[in-house]
Every structure is written in C-alpha cells, then in structure tokens.
Assembly symmetry: C2
Amino acid sequence: MAPVKNGRHLFNEIPTGYPEPGKTTIYDDSETIDLEKALLNGGFLVKTLVVSIEPVILGRMRDQSIKSPIPPFHVGQPLNNYGVGKVLRSENSTFKPGDHIYGMLPFQEYFVAQDPKRYKLLENKEGLSWSVYIGVCGMPGQTAYYGWKEWSSAKKGEVLFVTAASGPVGSTVVQLAKADGCKVIASAGSDEKVAFVSSIGADVAFNYKSVPTRKVLEKEGPIDIYWDNVGGEMLEAAIAAAGTFARFIECGMISQYNTQDPYPLENLFNIVTKQLKIYGFIVTSLHAKYEAQFYREIPCRVAAGEIKYKEDIHCV
Amino acid sequence: MAPVKNGRHLFNEIPTGYPEPGKTTIYDDSETIDLEKALLNGGFLVKTLVVSIEPVILGRMRDQSIKSPIPPFHVGQPLNNYGVGKVLRSENSTFKPGDHIYGMLPFQEYFVAQDPKRYKLLENKEGLSWSVYIGVCGMPGQTAYYGWKEWSSAKKGEVLFVTAASGPVGSTVVQLAKADGCKVIASAGSDEKVAFVSSIGADVAFNYKSVPTRKVLEKEGPIDIYWDNVGGEMLEAAIAAAGTFARFIECGMISQYNTQDPYPLENLFNIVTKQLKIYGFIVTSLHAKYEAQFYREIPCRVAAGEIKYKEDIHCV
C-alpha cells in the first residue's frame, strides 16, 4: 500500500490572547506514513480517532520557562491531549490490532507508540460511541466524579451551586449531585446552554450574563457546596452565599486563565467566619483512588441514560 | 460582711475603628454585691480571676443585625470572653467552693452562674498559674492544637509558614510544628516579637515590617503548610510561595477585620494549579473531637517547659 498523508496540528507560536488556528497552531499534512511497513520497534501503530479540546490546552501553550504541574507544548511539535485511538498493528503483547486505547494522543492521524503503560484499553462493552470516552466517560467525567466523591460530602437536601454547568465537567456534576439528592443551582453563559442544564435536572438554571449571580444565590441559597469551574467574580459570589461549613471544590478558574487582570476577591475573610473548606485539585491526583470505580460505574450509567451528555464534535 | 464593689467593663458603643476604653467600653463600679448573702438560686457564686482580651472581641462589638457565628455584645451589658474564675459559694453539686472553672465569663468581678455545663472544672495538677488557662492551655492553645492536629498532615522536614507567630496561637503553632520535625518560617511585627519567636524554636523568624515577606518565602520556601492568622497580603504571599498540595489552615485574618478596604487577592488561580487545600475553622467546631486530648497533653508539656509561652497581663 502506498504511503498515506499523516496530518498533524502543530503548536506554532505562543498566543498572547486566545489561540488562533493558522497562527498559534497550524495544520500540516506534509508528512506521510506507510501503514503496512512503518517500523514499530516493539511498539504499536495507532490511528487517532478523537482528541479532546479543553481549556487546559491553552495553559500548555506557554513559554518553557513558566513552571506548572502540566507540561508545556513544544513549538513545531503536534499538540497532544486525551484521545481515543485504534490499534492497527502491534508488536507488543499488551495491545492487538482492533483494540481501542485511551490516553494522551498527539494531534496526528497516525503514530507509533512504545509504552503500553501510557494507555488504557477501552473495553466499551456498552457500545458507546468512542467520543464519549473523551467526554463524560473520559477525563472530564473523571474530574467531576473524582472531585465529587472526594470532597462534596453531599447530604440529601443540601444545595450545590455549579458554574459552567453545561460543560462536560459541570453537566456531570449536576447529575451526580441530583443523584445524591441535592438541590442544584447551575449557571451557564447562553440560554441554549441553560436549557440543556435544565434538561439534565438542575433545579435552578440561569444565564449569568442576563441574571446577576448574587441575586440568584441570595434567593436560592445558602449553598453547601460550590463546584467552581470559573473563579473570579463567581467565586466571590459563592463565598458571599456560602453557609457555614460549605465545601468549595476548585476544579478550574476559566475566567482567570487568559487575563492580565485577575479579578481581585475581597471577601475571603468569610473563609474563617463561615469555616469554609476549599479543595483545589487536578484530576490526575485522584486517578489511583477512583479510576477503577469510575469505569465500573459511569459508562453503564451513561449507556442506561441515567447520565446524559452533549457533544461538540468537529471533524478534520 | 458588708457588700463590696462589683466592678464591670460594659460595652458602651459600637466602635467605628478600633475600640476606645472610656468610649466604646466603660468601667462601671456602681454595683455592689454581698458575697455572703447574694442569692444563688441553686447556682454558684464565682470570683473572676482572669479574662482574655482577643481580636474576636472586636468582631462582637457590632450591630445586632449583622450575622456571624459569634454572637454580638449588648450595649450596657458587660463584655464576656474566656476566663478563669474561683467558686466562692455553691448550691450546685457540680462545683464546690475553691474550685476553679473555665468558660465564658463576664468582665465583672463577681457573678452568680446557674448552668454548670457551661464551665469546665480545671484540675491544674501541674500547678500552673491560672492565667495560663486562658492562653496556651486555653482557647488560643486549643485553636493551635486542634487546627494543627486536624489539618496540618505535617511530615518531618516539611516547611511551615506562620504569621502573627508571637501571639498565643502562633507561638503554640511554632512549637507544635517544631515538635513534628518541620522547618518553621515565622513572621511577627516587631524585633522584640521576632526575638521571642526565635527563642521558642522558629528556624527563620522575621519582622514583616522591615523585610518583604515574599522575599523571605522565595528564599526559604516553597511552603507545605501555611498557618494564617493575618489574611490579605500575607495570604497572597503564602499562595505565591506554596508548593503543590500545600495545606492552608485559616485561623484568622486580623488584617481584614477592621478595614473598610479589604485586600484584593489576585493569585487565587494557584488554588487549582497547586492543588491547595484551604481549611477555615473556628476552634469550637473541633472541641468535641480534641478537648480531652488537649487537656491530657498540653498542660503537662507546658509544665515540663516543652511548650513555652509569654503573657501580656493587665491588672484592673
């Protein structure tokens, strides 16, 4: 078989604001690969099926000198992130042709991998579409599940507030909280997103661009749990509306990632007076504790329709 | 015996800034009490020996309408706070004359109490001075001990930063941390205080008014544990200097109590990226869990000279 094109999305330039396809990243199809003859050297050849586009990618588009627990991208190299691939050929006993694997994949159509420990075999007995394994059954779902299990201490009747509630993490949190008997207050940034959040069970869903968050929380709170995906002003509003002993699960602060002008919080004294507990976390830290439980439980519940999701798929 | 004067410190006026003796509080000795004949109605007559003056008192000098877990004072009534008293007469079987009791005492020379459950009998087998029981062996020592036991997760060689380190809470934290094998960085607001903090074992003690906190932490950190008594700019510096998984024990934010202009923190995004855990607490919430252990352990260690303290005593 003749070599085929092996398209790649390369990191091209550190963005000063938001990333711009064609500038900060470029699509390159100058390389080819012979799928039958490419040397495996004891590894396995993978066809990339889906990769996930997430806010964390922007944080990795940085200068090498800036330290962070998440490694930076290298200019001229493909981006990489969680994805699902199909094994085409293998010289490694862990994976056989036809297997589907999950892990950090390059944004590249085909690649040869050496280390099977860096990938997880997806059994997918439920027959879900593979893209689900980078969403609600992948890292975003794990983020929601791990954080909720570890820190919510949710009791029936307690009140959760979750921001960015229509996203893959937020929408999973909404449904885990409802399953635990919580009242869920959820915010999102468009009426369409709000409709989706309502459809998956949020008791109070609102568009934070048209309704003041503080007013909603004053009426519907006090809150026992805040799941933060946003930070800044929303975090301040949640602190203002928190009840004594409220738990804050700090999953992300999207409003603060891409700004030279971070929002200055002024009500932190409430951390002491309200005896708040605030848990910052990155999903990988809880992987060892919850991964097996997650794959046992969540794909089943998704297949059964107990946990709903919405995908935003782009084909290239 | 003729009636004697029964002096009281009354709450007189809500302060707009700092309290002013003679204005926001007044000393009143117009009342008298007959120590032999005063009716006890099944209660017990107590002579107040020592009461504690603490920052929390200012928070209680507020308008009745402002909610807080700690109740406000009432204008025209004596202040009250933790203190030690001696039982002079008793009609209750729990306490007998000569007993020393600890609890919330009015700022008043003599008072009749009814509810023995509100006071703790101090055995003081160690023969410590009674004032120690409102300091290192009282609420401030409990604050340090409970918070440290509950949230520090201290491991040998870890780095603690503690602010207001010469105070009764801070200085106890310094010594608990040293006993657990931590490196202790401690700040205080005068050279005299710094000398005291060094004398009780802090590895790095500095006057935050003359040395920039951020510089000290950059050199001596990263920090694994921050014990916060101060909030504001110091909290921001601690977040900047925190290592991954650092624990923040939020005991107080003295810099933020008495200001119309709270310090705006701008680096909270690190809570997520550094996976910080932040624990706000008030000592009473951990009382049930740690009180017995505290009284078994701390007075002994104080009597043995293992835990040192400094007192600031005013006689009236």
